[in-house]
């Protein structure tokens, strides 16, 4: 028996050891087809104004991305996230970026640093502070960056990551988020509605 056969056997054992009911629970995040929770909660934008998810809702759909400044994964994707945000806004997608991290844990995630980052990236969408992490908790978000894309009827159509290479945009093979956005803009369900990537755990505020 070779290593590949051992691997297959082991994977099967792992699979068999996983009850389907538990495996189907997902990571605890918002289920596909549901509407955005706390959509009217106002959060402080980098321009000082208070903005909610409902405020930015687009005619074709709404993209909510939980992200932050300090996380190496968020940094790796930040230019692509800014480009996607700016370009799909022109296609009728409302976009809001939410930082739910407690800046007491990473000062780089503070509001002033968010302002600087948004400016440096040329970000046109709001980049807001979820100051008690309540919105992230309501979404069941757990990692940065983590995208939730709602279709024009307000139902969650895609949940997951940006693409398959946070380190190098030139080596991306699967553009999960833009594929999903194209589908939603076209009024169709995304082919791959849920994806995952490694990322930083959201550093939740503990006072809520």
């Amino acid at each position: 028996m070779n290593l590949a056969q051992i691997s297959i056997g082991f994977s099967l054992a792992v699979a068999l050891g996983t009850p389907a009911a538990l495996a189907a629970e997902g990571s605890g995040a918002l289920a596909l087809g549901t509407k955005a929770p706390m959509a009217t909660a106002r959060m402080k934008n980098v321009d000082g104004k208070m903005v909610s998810i409902a405020d930015v809702a687009g005619r074709a759909g709404t993209l909510v991305i939980f992200t932050c400044n300090h996380c190496p994964f968020a940094k790796g994707w930040e230019h692509r996230i800014a480009d996607i945000s700016n370009s799909y806004a022109k296609k009728g997608i409302g976009v809001i970026l939410i930082n739910a991290n407690d800046p007491a844990k990473y000062s780089e995630d503070g509001w002033a640093e968010m302002q600087a980052r948004a400016k440096a990236l040329g970000l046109q969408a709001p980049y807001v502070v979820d100051e008690t992490s309540a919105v992230a908790r309501a979404f069941g978000a757990s990692v940065t960056p983590e995208a939730f894309l709602f279709d024009k009827s307000g139902k969650l159509a895609y949940h997951g990551t940006v693409d398959d290479n946070h380190q190098d945009a030139g080596k991306v093979q699967k553009r999960f988020l833009t594929d999903a956005l194209d589908a939603v803009v076209a009024g169709k369900p995304p082919t791959l509605p849920e994806t995952k990537s490694l990322g930083c755990g959201i550093k939740f505020h503990s006072n809520s």
């Binding site: 290593l3 297959i8 050891g17 990537s197 490694l198 959201i202």
Partner: protein, 216 residues
């Protein structure tokens, strides 16, 4: 079987299941010097998850604790001392520790140094025989291969039994108090804890369990 990067590896026939490659601490010939001269960097090599888990199973350890971490991840580094304390407490009963780094390949030496330094501080030093890898698979395959319920947030820790079944997942930073009771329970269940006088835990369900505590 050839070995690289100065690892001290030994091949072992796994009863009817092929060859297991077990690597223990040894100097890294091509690595940067560790910041602490008394610490020898842990060997870290790239491997797909299926091979990592197959090697762990082939070691015949009654329990295998798999931790996914990264050098840049503060909660990962913060939990390392407790993780190593748990390992030190139970390795005599056969607990095996597998560390999988999500770092870039360029950080291989840094990952080895970080592990070795943490091991030295935990009082394990050069006796640490944890096997250390860099993740090689794409993220979704890797994440779902360990636990489909895992979102991918670092750090995360998983416990496998001798048959290669995942018996517990900790999808958040851990402490000694999080890990120790479950490891005692599983060791007792496997017979390893009871044989060596390990304390038994409360009987529980046989289904894989998950601890989902928020990141601090």
């Amino acid at each position: 079987m050839p070995h690289h990067d100065g690892r001290r590896c030994r091949s072992r026939a796994a009863s009817g299941a092929g060859i297991a490659l077990l690597c223990t601490l040894s100097p890294l010939s091509g690595a940067r010097a560790a910041p602490d001269a008394s610490v020898t960097a842990t060997a870290v090599r790239s491997a797909p998850l299926a091979a990592i888990l197959a090697e762990a199973k082939a070691s015949h350890a009654p329990l295998v604790l798999v931790n996914v971490w990264a050098t840049w991840c503060d909660p990962c580094r913060e939990e390392l001392p407790d993780l190593l304390r748990v390992y030190r407490a139970h390795r005599v009963e056969g607990l095996r520790l597998v560390m999988i780094s999500a770092d870039d390949a360029e950080a291989r030496a840094q990952a080895g140094e970080a592990l070795a330094t943490a091991a030295a501080r935990a009082g394990i030093g050069r006796d640490l025989d944890a096997t250390s890898y860099l993740k090689e698979d794409d993220d979704m395959k890797f994440i779902d291969g360990l636990d489909p319920r895992w979102s991918g947030a670092l750090p995360a820790t998983f416990l496998f039994d001798a048959a290669g079944r995942r018996v517990h997942s900790w999808l958040a930073p851990i402490t000694f108090a999080d890990l120790d009771p479950e490891i005692r329970r599983q060791l007792t269940k496997s017979g390893s804890g009871a044989k060596r006088g390990g304390a038994g835990g409360a009987p529980g369900a046989d289904l894989p369990q998950t601890s989902r505590r928020r990141n601090p």
